[in-house]
């Protein structure tokens, strides 16, 4: 089966797309991600597309779909690492990825997600750091 691995890290799901996406793979990813968001109660989804050299309108639509679906499932999505040439091409094509958060790299993307959900996390005990990290 063609699948892109999804990693769970705390309240986040991480996806690194390392290959050029063809349709089936992209649709599987959309499906798998939304299922995982529901199953793991993830609060954020980070998609790294730094290795993707082509984003056409189909791929753009998939990214938009993932963001909207995640939002309905109470999770934020951030797309990171877009290559400059891809950004230039997307805008000329007319695809502005509205509603999708973006960040330059994984680190900044994680920061963004943490800020986005930070307030919620403070109020939710299940996401607090393990006990050995808290001050005694």
């Amino acid at each position: 089966m063609d699948r892109i691995p999804i990693l769970k890290m705390g309240p986040f799901l991480l996806v690194t797309i390392q290959v050029d996406l063809y349709d089936r793979l992209a649709l599987n990813l959309e499906n798998d991600l939304i299922t995982m968001v529901s199953k793991t109660e993830a609060k954020g989804v980070l998609i790294d597309i730094s290795a993707v050299s082509i984003v056409d309108s189909f791929m753009g639509r998939i990214l938009g779909n993932i963001a909207s679906m995640s939002r309905i499932m109470d999770a934020e999505t951030v797309v990171v690492g877009m290559q400059p040439a891809v950004a230039i091409t997307l805008v000329e094509l007319g695809l502005t990825l509205q509603g999708v958060h973006t960040a330059l790299n994984v680190e900044k993307g994680m920061e963004l997600l943490q800020n986005k959900i930070g307030l919620n996390l403070l109020n939710q005990e299940e996401y607090q750091e393990p006990a050995d990290d808290t001050d005694l």
Partner: protein, 137 residues
């Protein structure tokens, strides 16, 4: 205009899209096209093969390296025997789509490349030709 090389590739299934894009990239790299221009050309090509698969069950693409007035470029001709386009002016309008895509297809594609032409006969098929020059102008 001088034709430097010529090749054709059938596009019949979704799985043909990625190898096709790689062929286009090879040609663009061969003439030293910059990364941004390569990306624009390949994205445009990707949009057009998708149209071909979606509306015409595939077709074939002619890939050429050409030279005109001392400039080299990549010319791609997408030919299908699909239902054709009834109103090309309408199809070239931003935001118009009969399919379930975003409606960026044709006008978006046109913006990405240097030259774009489309011919279509309803009931017979559609031919789209795009050319992108090495320096993107």
């Amino acid at each position: 205009m001088i034709q430097i090389s010529k090749d054709s590739m059938p596009i019949l299934r979704e799985q043909d899209v990625v190898p096709f894009r790689n062929r286009v990239r090879e040609l663009a790299t061969k003439i030293g096209m910059s990364l941004v221009n390569q990306t624009k050309l390949i994205t445009a090509a990707s949009e057009l093969v998708r149209n071909m698969l979606k509306y015409a069950n595939g077709g074939k693409v002619l890939l050429e390296l050409i030279s005109r007035n001392g400039q080299t470029g990549v010319r791609l001709t997408f030919e299908d025997q699909g239902p054709g386009i009834k109103d090309i002016d309408l199809a070239m309008k931003d935001g118009f789509s009969t399919g379930k895509s975003l409606g960026l297809g044709l006008p978006g594609t046109k913006r990405l490349v240097n030259e774009f032409s489309i011919k279509s006969v309803p009931g017979e098929g559609t031919t789209v030709t795009i050319t992108h020059w090495k320096n993107g102008r």
